[in-house]
């Protein structure tokens, strides 16, 4: 059995979702190859070649692959599947966009967002916003799987696989890339960060969100997250959203500020190692999952937290 892992990257650097997905793949088979598809991403392929346990890296480059068009990804991967029994993709918005296409083309089910591998055909995945875990067995000859990377440890570096360049597919005829506006940030990525500081509706405005949440995150070297309510209200950009339909995070430390803790938000962060909640409402559901709760208005509590951190040498 050979398994293909599709790398998560931004054409410049490899994301650690890839190493985590390799770990999931190695539970299926010892023959794991990584596909790096993009544009100008040779350095990413070289980084993937260093992951321990990777047999070979396939590199395909074109403008459309660089833009991440789902049609191009499918056209690239489907013919490769003649050589593989399974394809694993990190469940990022990009992976979720193209992976079901591969499944449909191969006429197999997609096994979405697995959090555990039981055996070569049996997997565990969350359903109902993570309120239930479903163990499913696939009867399909080829497995198309997306992986919730936060549930797996990253495979270590130390390998030296070969990088093989393969041809990119033709440009899709009916889908055209117009533009992309990505938020540039010096902060760690939300899904891979060790510490996440999230703000909720209580912030009241984008200015307040930036004034309260961001300095605290920067003091801790943390990524910034937000509840759906805060994103819907325009206090934070959409890709900050933590929850059932946003990003799923599992950092060492998750600090929820002014977040009440709706089911959908808890779905995105309840696997964090330590959860801290700061909320002035002592009955907020977030306190039911928090290891440390501080019942206080964030307006007073966050500045106090900043000085306490400074006093502790942070």
């Amino acid at each position: 059995m050979a398994v293909l892992v599709i790398a998560d990257h931004d054409n410049a650097s490899l994301k650690d979702n890839t190493e985590k997905t390799v770990t999931a793949a190695l539970k299926l088979s010892g023959d794991v190859d990584v596909l790096v598809a993009g544009q100008g991403c040779k350095a990413v392929a070289d980084a993937a070649a260093k992951i321990t346990g990777v047999r070979k890296v396939l590199l395909a480059e074109s403008a459309e692959l660089g833009e991440g068009l789902a049609e191009s990804m499918e056209a690239l991967v489907v013919p490769l599947m003649a050589n593989y029994d399974a394809v694993l993709t990190p469940a990022t918005s990009q992976g979720k966009n193209f992976s079901p296409r591969i499944a449909a083309k191969l006429d197999v089910a997609q096994i979405s967002e697995i959090v555990d591998v039981v055996d070569g055909s049996t997997f565990v995945r969350p359903i109902y916003a993570g309120n239930a875990l479903e163990t499913v067995q696939s009867a399909d000859a080829k497995k198309v799987i997306t992986v919730r990377a936060t549930s797996f440890k990253a495979a270590a570096d130390g390998g030296s696989a070969k990088v093989e360049t393969i041809a990119a597919p033709a440009k899709p005829a009916k889908t055209h890339f117009v533009d992309q506006k990505l938020v540039k940030s010096a902060r760690p990525e939300l899904t891979g960060a060790k510490i996440v500081v999230s703000g909720g509706r209580a912030m009241g405005s984008a200015e307040e969100f930036q004034k309260v949440i961001e300095p605290l995150a920067d003091k801790l070297g943390a990524a910034v997250g937000a509840s759906r309510a805060a994103v819907d209200a325009g206090y934070a950009p959409n890709d900050y959203q933590v929850g059932q339909t946003g990003k799923v995070v599992a950092p060492e430390l998750y600090i929820a500020i002014g977040i009440s803790g709706a089911i959908q938000h808890l779905a995105g962060m309840k696997d964090s190692k330590v959860i801290v909640a700061i909320n002035k409402d002592a009955d907020a559901p977030i306190f039911q999952v928090a290891d440390y709760g501080l019942v206080a208005d964030y307006k007073a509590a966050v500045p106090e937290l900043m000085s306490a951190l400074a006093a502790a040498g942070k």
Partner: protein, 249 residues
């Protein structure tokens, strides 16, 4: 221009799912069911296209039990023109749903399919992409803005790190993300009017589509529960506990 909007009847957004003690699934008996929130957003978008004069007809479809007629009536009350229920007591997987929808697209010939990006029960986020693939239509998923002009649609998509804009040739499949719009509440007169709108019921078997499940559910279990920890009095307390007790600072 005709718009097809698939909708799904699921557990209500505000209800916490409970796993059955025999681990065969989630207990849906006597649980409030509603239209999947992402499907509501899709219906709203289609109705807005009609109100703008871009769409001429909005057809809502659902695949599910007889009770899914209620979900379709909601879509009709929001402004869809007519509805089709493909009736089945089976719980279909995304690939099977995509195949059924493909058959309906063959009958209805819409210019655009707008649907939710994911259902909040299975959390698969796959059906729209699969439908686009089976139809060989372009796809634009996770839409936060949709603009249709002539034979093209310009779609702003929510992606990791920001927003991406694509232009797709129609016919196409667009899947709705949370921020595409805020769905309306149906007014009482519209709910009354919806009762008179056409709702056709077809048996799944009559479509001749292979909907056999590909996955066997071995068991459904409850995830390990977190328990509430301690309350701290001050921010300084918190920092000291995080440092010495939790060891995360």
């Amino acid at each position: 221009m005709k718009v097809l909007v698939p909708v799904k009847r699921v557990i209500d957004y505000n209800v916490k799912a409970r796993v059955k003690p025999d681990q065969t699934g989630v207990d849906l008996a006597n649980v409030k069911m509603s239209m999947n929130p992402f499907c509501e957003i899709a219906v709203e978008e289609a109705v807005r296209l009609k109100e703008k004069g871009v769409a001429t007809e909005v057809v809502a479809v659902s695949i599910g039990p007889a009770q899914a007629q209620e979900t379709l009536r909601t879509a009709l009350a929001m402004g869809a023109d007519r509805a089709i229920l493909v009736q089945t007591s089976d719980d279909l997987e995304p690939l099977a749903v995509a195949k059924v929808l493909k058959a309906l697209v063959g009958k209805e010939s819409p210019d655009l399919v707008v649907m939710g990006k994911q259902a909040i029960d299975g959390d698969n986020n796959a059906t729209g992409q699969m439908l686009a693939t089976l139809l060989d239509w372009p796809q634009a998923t996770f839409a936060s803005a949709l603009e249709v002009s002539g034979s093209k649609a310009k779609v702003t998509r929510e992606v990791d790190g920001g927003l991406q804009t694509l232009e797709v040739d129609l016919p196409a499949v667009v899947t709705a993300d949370l921020r595409l719009n805020e769905p309306r509440y149906a007014s009482l007169p519209n709910i009354m009017k919806a009762k008179k709108k056409e709702l056709a019921v077809e048996e799944l078997a009559s479509l001749g589509v292979d909907t056999a499940p590909r996955l066997k559910v071995v068991k459904v279990t409850e995830p390990s529960k977190r328990t509430a920890g301690v309350k701290v009095e001050t921010a300084a307390d918190l920092v000291s506990k995080l440092k010495t007790e939790a060891g995360v600072l």
